[in-house]
Amino acid sequence: MTDRKVLVVDDEIHIVQVVAIKLRNNGFEVVTAENGAEALELVRSQHPDLVITDYQMPVMTGVELIENLRSDAEFVELPVIMLTARGFAIEDDKKARLNVAACLSKPFSPREVLQCVQDVLQQVSA
């Protein structure tokens, strides 16, 4: 499981940092972006194994980012976890359509995020 690369996307710098530290401390390589557009570029250049993204962000939202990823054959299967403060997160049908692996709500536990990342990656490699 070591050296798996995770892209963390959030416009809130402290959130990005705390998730990044938690993952790095547990053997992951982490790249970060502060909006969907920046993330899209990083996905193409860095080829992460998994993306953790917020929903509401300036320039490009998390959902717009995932829609963009799914329209590209190369990233159709790229696992994505949503981390959002929205009470209702995203509707189940949208979640299924966008192939979102998991939705975590803020406030969140970095422990749970780590666990979720590990679980999702395990499912993918299984």
Partner: protein, 464 residues
């Protein structure tokens, strides 16, 4: 009697004016026709004829004037007189009954008009139909809402006049269900800007409990719906805003507990994040509470004379670290003389901080924010402006930017916000200090927000 016959023609002419009865009497002789006439008069109740006849009998030179020995005429005359009296009494009674009836009718008409005037002046739409579904009453609001003019002479069926299937169905439901009332929220008007009405349709029953129509009352609840929507949006926004700092506090605290801070420096950083995010949370709650307090008039205002330029300089220092994070330069106003206003320092500082943090928030990295303070001697006021080189605001949005919960759609993606900051600015400047807020903006070039406050009284006195 022959004398009567001899002057028959002349008498006929004279009597023609007085009445046919008299003429016949004169020509044919009194005894024969008297009874006929009397009967006729009784039947016809012709008061004018009786009057004429009596006058003719009383006339001293009348040929049938009852003089000495006219024993035949006297009872007849008495009978006629009596008849006339009876007739007059009847007529009098009729007249008084008639006038009473007229008064009653006028009263009823007046009451009807009063009731109609009341119903017509109701702001809600009121519409009444009879048992055959014909519209028998509609006030001005109803006519406007449904776009028709009530034809009072020819009541038309509801479904012929009203082109709103949902409303017609609601009325149908009321009649069928026979419950005291049915209620539904319906939308009317332009689909792009629909108006919502609370429609209550009540069944009208007659004394035999049979349905004899409906009365519909439609109350415009568009504004209430908007306010309710705004409140929902507000709760959604605020909860999102509250959760963001809370998420950091929670996550960093857990990291500390789990020993994820591997050195003292990292531990220090985690603690600082928790502290700053707690402060951010507190600021947000304060904003909400302050608006609520100002609106309800419960806020404690502590006014003192203070310099706007110095206050602005202090506010800039408070926001500087935030601006530096985005590499934004803030140009500080120079201290000027005679710029004192009577203000609550904390509240006014809050105003300047809100304007500054907005300017920084909506200005791209590397931009510039300029604070300026000047004294307007003519209008006896101090003007503070905060100009930025940010994204700007479309002109359509400008009139609303100080409204509570309003957020510029085009700039929503640019930064997060509750839509409360500028409303708080307006409330503090205008409601608490009697000043004015203003804004000018050019999209993609920048915005200038500012306010004017009246100069402190002693300063104004000096000018005079």
């Amino acid at each position: 009697m022959w004398a009567v016959a001899a002057c028959g023609t002349a008498a006929l002419v004279a009597a023609a004016a007085a009445g046919v009865g008299t003429a016949v009497l004169v020509v044919l002789g009194f005894p024969v026709v008297a009874c006929l006439i009397l009967t006729g008069l009784i039947l016809l109740k012709t008061a004018a004829a009786i009057e004429t006849l009596c006058a003719a009998l009383e006339k001293p030179d009348s040929a049938y004037h009852f003089g000495e020995g006219s024993t035949l005429l006297k009872p007849l005359y008495t009978a006629l007189r009596r008849l006339l009296e009876i007739h007059r009494e009847g007529q009098h009674r009729q007249r008084s009954q008639d006038s009473e009836m007229v008064v009653r009718l006028q009263l009823l008409e007046r009451q009807k008009k009063d009731t109609e005037a009341i119903i017509y002046s109701i702001r809600d739409s009121v519409l009444v139909t009879d048992a055959s579904d014909r519209i028998i009453m509609a006030n001005a609001a109803a006519e406007r809402l449904f776009g028709f003019t009530l034809d009072r002479d020819q009541a038309r069926r509801l479904d012929e006049v009203i082109r709103h299937p949902d409303f017609v169905r609601l009325v149908g439901r009321s009649i069928q269900s026979r419950t005291s009332h049915v209620r539904q929220e319906l939308t009317f008007g332009d689909p792009r800007q629909p108006k919502t009405y609370d429609c209550i349709v009540s069944c009208v029953e007659d004394e035999k409990n049979a349905a004899c129509g409906i009365v519909a009352v439609l109350h415009d609840i568009t504004r209430e719906k908007e306010i309710s929507q705004m409140k929902n949006d507000f709760v959604s926004h605020v909860s999102h805003e509250l959760k963001t700092p809370l998420a950091s506090i929670n996550a960093y605290a857990e990291m500390l507990v789990d020993g994820e801070a591997q050195d003292a420096e990292t531990m220090q950083r985690f603690c600082t994040v928790i502290q700053t995010q707690a402060q951010r949370l507190n600021r947000l709650i304060e904003d909400i509470l302050n608006i609520s307090r100002i609106e309800s008039g419960l806020i404690k205002v502590d006014k003192e004379t203070c310099s706007v330029a110095i206050l602005a300089q202090n506010a800039v220092e408070m926001i500087r670290s935030y601006a530096m994070e985005k590499s934004i330069t803030i140009k500080v106003p120079a201290a000027i003389i005679h710029d004192q206003v009577l203000a609550d320092k904390d509240m006014l500082t809050q105003v300047v901080i809100n304007l500054l943090s907005n300017a920084v928030k909506y200005t791209p990295a590397g931009g510039m924010v300029e604070v300026d303070v000047e004294v307007d001697e003519v209008d006896c006021c101090v003007r503070l402006t905060v100009g930025d080189t940010g994204v700007g605001i479309p002109s359509d949005d400008l009139p609303y930017v100080f409204d509570k919960f309003y957020r510029v759609e085009a700039n929503k993606k640019q930064a997060k916000g509750t839509g409360l900051g500028l409303n708080l600015v307006k409330q503090i400047v205008e409601t608490v200090h009697g000043g004015r807020v203003f804004v000018t903006s050019v999209p993609q070039q920048g915005s200038t927000f500012g306010f004017t406050l009246p100069l402190a009284a002693e300063r104004v006195a000096l000018n005079v």
